[in-house]
Amino acid sequence: MTGPYDSRELEERLDELLFPVLSSRRTAAGIAAGLAPLARAQQDLVLHWVKVAVHGAGELAYQIAAQAPHAFARFGPAEVERWILGALDVYDREGLYAASAALKDLGAFGRGVQAARSGVALAEVERMLTGFLRGLAGRALALAPDEHAWTDTETVYLPARLERYASRAQNRELYCASAAFHWGQARYGSFDTELGEASGWLPLLEAIRIEARLRRDLPGLGERLARLRDPWPARLDAARARLERPGATVRDSLALRDGLRGTPVPPAPPWCGKLDGERARAVRAARIARERTLLARELAGLREQRGLAPDAPVRLEAHRERDEFRVELAGEALAAPPALARLLASIVQDHGAIAPEWLVAAGEGALAAQAHDGARVDESGAHAEGGSLYDEWDHRRGAYRRDWCVLFESDVPQGDAAYVGAVRTRRAGAIAQLKRRFEALRDEDRLLKREPEGEDIDFDALVEAWADARGGREPSARLFTRRRRAERDIAVMIMVDMSGSTKGWVNDCEREALVMLCEALEALGDRYAIYGFSGWSRKRCESYRVKRFDEDYGEAVRARIAGIAPRDYTRMGVAVRHLAKRLAGVEARTRVLFTLSDGKPDDFHDGYRGAYGIEDTRQALIEARQAGIHPFCVTIDRAAPEYLSRLYGPARWTLVDDAGRLPLRVAEIYRRITC
C-alpha cells in the first residue's frame, strides 16, 4: 500500500478535478490541507467521489472534499459513502442549497446512522401493511406518510419512519399495531357522529374502546395493542368499565369526555394517533354516495339479468358483526355476486346495516355520476403530469437516481393507411414464404420415438427389440412413442427505435421490417405488441404505442406503423424499463423484448451520452432479465459489436449490416431465437 498523498499532491489532483469551480480567489489549497492527514484509502475515496460529483454537481463536489475530513472523523468509509450519496440525491431533488446543508449537518446524518440500525421506514413495510389492512378491512385502504398517525377512513396515515424502540422488530410491530388500530377507528364507528373538538381526552377514550373491541374480535391483535402500551391509569377504571362493554359506541366516549374535561390527559398509547373527525366524515360521505350509486347499479344489473322489472322488490340483509349477506330479489334468495358482496361488506362497515332507501332503483343519472366519479379516482391515482417516473442507473455513483426520468406514453399518430398494403403487395412473394414456414411451427406436436415411456408403442422399436431378444442380444427398453406438445406460449414486445438518427431510408427499412414481422407473428400466433421510443432529456421520455398486446393487427395498427417517424434522442434505459414492465404484465411462458435499433443509447441531455447511457441501458436490461424477460436486439449499427455484447450479452444480438436487408432478415431472426 502506498502512503497517503501530501497536501501538494492532493492540491494538484483537486485542481485538475475541480477546475470548473475554482478560481484565483478560491483554490484547492485549503481542502487539500484538510485531506492530507487522512489515510490513503480515505483520500482515494474522497477523490473518487469528487470525480463522480463534479459531473453536473461541481460546486457540491467542492463541498464534499471540504467536509470529508469531518465526516471521516465520525464515520467509517461505508457510511461516508452513504453520506455523499444522500447529498447527491438531495442535490438532484432540491438543488445545491439543500444539498450543501445536508452535507454539513453531520449530526443529523449521525442520528440517522444510529436510527437506521433499529428504525423501520414506512416504505419498507408498506406492501406488507397494505396487504394486512386489505385483509382486515376487505376493501382497499391506502397508506401514506404523515407526521402523526391518523385516518380519514380511506387512507391510513402513518409516520414515514418509526424509531421509538431499539429493535427493528418492535418498531415493525408498532407499525402493524398502529395501522390496525386506525383501521379499527373506522371499523368500530369512531366517525359515526360529530366529534367536535377531537384532541385531548377523546382519542384516548376511543383507544380504550377500540382496543376492547379488537380484543374480542381479533384477540391476537388486541393483546398486541395492550402489550405495546403502558397500563391504563387506575383513575380511568370507571371510564373503562363503560367503554369496554360490548355495546359501547363513540357516544359513550363523547359522554365521558364531557365529564373528564379539564382534568389532565394521560399519555396516549404509542399506536394511537390523532382523530380528525371532520376530514374522516367528509371522505366517508363521499364514499357512501359513491357506494350507494354502485349498489343501485349492481341491483339494476341483477334485476335485468333475471328479467325482472326495475322496481322489483329487493331485500338485503347484512350485518356489521358477521360478514354474511342475504340477497332476496322478488322473493327469491340468491347468492351475491362477488362484486356485490364486496360492496355490501364495505357499506356495512360504514353503516352497520343496509338502509331500505338504498334499495330502490336508481335512474340513469346516478349511473352517469358514478362513471364520472370513477374516472376522477383513476386520474388522481396517476401522476399529475400524466407521466410515469422511473429510476435511472448512474454508474459513476453505482446507485440509482430515484424517479429520475418522466416517461409519457401516447399513440403514434396514424400515417398513410395504404402504406402497409403497398408493402404487402411489393413483398408478396417473401410474405407468402414466411407464412408457410411460420405456420408450420404453430402448435407443432412432435412425436418422439424410442422413449422409455409414452402413450403408444413404437412398433419399429418393438420389432427390433423382439428380434434382438430372439437373437440372444439384450433388447432395448425404449419401446414407446410420446407426443410432446411444442405449444408456443410466447409474448414478444417489439421495441422500435424512433430516434432522430433513423431519419430517411433507415426509417423506411424499419417500418418495412415491422410489416414483415407482423405478418410472420400473425401466422405464428404469438402475442405481440409494438412500441416506439425516443426521448429528449430525462423530463420528456416518450414511449409511442403502435400496437398493444390486446389489439388486433387491423386498420388502426397498420396506419400507426405507417406513422412511425424519427423523433429525438435514444434515451434507452427508461424505455427498456417501461416496456419490460408492460411485458411483465402479460401471461406467457416466454417473454421476449425484441429491439430494433440503429445505434447506441444516446441523449444529448443530462450527460446521458457515452458510458452513462450504455451503463444505464445495461442495468435496465439486467433488471428485465431478472423479471424473466429475454431481451434481444437487432441492430444496423456497424459499430454495435463495441457495445452490444456489454448490453445484451454475447449471443443476444444480431447485426444486419445492410439496412436494406432488414425487412427480409428480421422475421427469420425472430424465428431463430424463439424456436
Binding site: R134, G135, L136, G138, L218, G220, R224, E324, D456, I457
Partner: protein, 276 residues
C-alpha cells in the same frame, strides 16, 4: 422411472369404487337436487369454483347418494386421450388392450370425475364431446370400437374460472355440453361448522380460522392468487387439534401455502397473529 409396460399417470384412484360410508358434506344451496336431476336426465355436469371449496367432496357425496361407483382422474398437462381411453401394452410377447379410467367408468356405469379438466391436453375433447352430448358414446379409435354409455354413467368435469392464464380458458363448445353448478366458499357459519367437523376443533377455534380465511380472501387479486380455501382451513384445524399452537399451525397450513412473496407472507402472518 417407470419401466416399459408399466403405465404411469392418471391411473391412480381410477378403479371404479363404491363409496362405502356417507361422506361428510354440507350443502351450500340446491346443488344436490340439481346434480341428482342431471344424473336422472343423463346430462353431464360441470363444477365451477375455486380450489378447495368442496367440489371433490361433493362428487364423492353424490356418488354415495346415487349408489354409483366413482372414478376420479386428476388432470394434468400431459394427460392425453389415450390416457383416458386405454392403450395396448406388451404382456408376455403379446399386445394386450388395457382400458383407461374413462373406459372403465363407462363400462361400470360409474360417475367419472375429471378434476381440473383445463389442465388436460386438447385432444381429450375428442373423447369428452361424444360422451357429453346426446350420443353418449366413447370412441375407442385404436380398437375401432365405440362404447355406449349405460344410463347410470355420468361425466363430471371441474374447472376453476379464477385462473388468470389465457391458456386455461375452457372452450365454449365444451362447456355448453354441461349443466354448470357454481361453487363458492360456504357462508362463515356453515364454513365454521365444516372446519369444526372436519378439523376436529371447537367452534370458537373454527370461527377464528374462518375469520382468517375470509381475510385472506380479501387479498385475492391484490397480492394473492387465491385466498385460503376451506381445505386449508381444515388442514390448520387438524394441526391445532393435534396440539400445534394456532399461530404455528396457521403459518404452516395457511400462510406458507398461499404465497412465496415475502411481503404477502408477512401480511398473512400478521392477519393470523391478529386472529390468534
Amino acid at each position: 422411472m417407470n419401466g416399459p409396460g408399466r403405465h404411469p399417470r392418471a391411473t391412480s384412484a381410477a378403479e371404479p369404487r363404491e363409496t362405502a360410508a356417507e361422506p361428510y358434506y354440507q350443502p351450500l344451496a340446491d346443488e344436490v337436487a340439481l346434480f341428482g336431476a342431471a344424473h336422472a336426465a343423463r346430462v353431464p355436469v360441470l363444477l365451477k369454483g375455486p380450489t378447495g371449496c368442496g367440489k371433490t367432496r361433493f362428487v364423492e357425496y353424490m356418488a354415495w347418494r346415487l349408489a354409483r361407483p366413482l372414478v376420479t382422474v386428476a388432470c394434468h398437462d400431459d394427460l392425453t386421450a389415450s390416457d383416458l381411453v386405454g392403450r395396448y401394452l406388451v404382456v408376455n410377447q403379446e399386445t394386450v388392450w388395457v382400458d383407461g379410467p374413462l373406459a372403465r367408468a363407462v363400462r361400470a356405469g360409474a360417475l367419472c370425475y375429471l378434476d381440473e379438466i383445463v389442465e388436460a391436453r386438447k385432444d381429450t375433447t375428442v373423447v369428452i364431446h361424444p360422451l357429453a352430448d346426446a350420443r353418449r358414446i366413447l370412441p375407442m379409435e385404436k380398437r375401432g370400437e365405440q362404447l355406449a354409455a349405460p344410463d347410470e354413467f355420468m361425466l363430471i368435469l371441474s374447472y376453476n374460472p379464477g385462473y388468470q392464464s389465457v391458456l386455461k380458458e375452457m372452450k365454449a363448445s365444451t362447456r355448453q355440453r354441461f349443466v354448470a353448478i357454481e361453487f363458492g366458499y360456504p357462508s362463515p357459519e356453515l364454513e365454521a361448522r365444516i372446519v369444526a367437523h372436519e378439523g376436529g376443533v371447537d367452534d370458537a377455534t373454527a370461527e377464528r380460522l374462518v375469520r382468517l380465511g375470509g381475510m385472506t380472501r380479501n387479498l385475492k387479486g391484490n397480492g394473492l392468487d387465491e385466498g385460503a380455501s376451506t381445505r386449508l382451513l381444515v388442514h390448520a384445524a387438524k394441526l391445532i387439534a393435534l396440539g400445534v399452537a394456532p399461530r404455528v399451525a396457521c403459518e404452516g397450513a395457511i400462510t406458507q401455502a398461499l404465497s412465496d412473496d415475502a411481503d404477502m407472507l408477512a401480511a398473512v402472518g400478521e392477519l393470523a397473529r391478529a386472529v390468534f
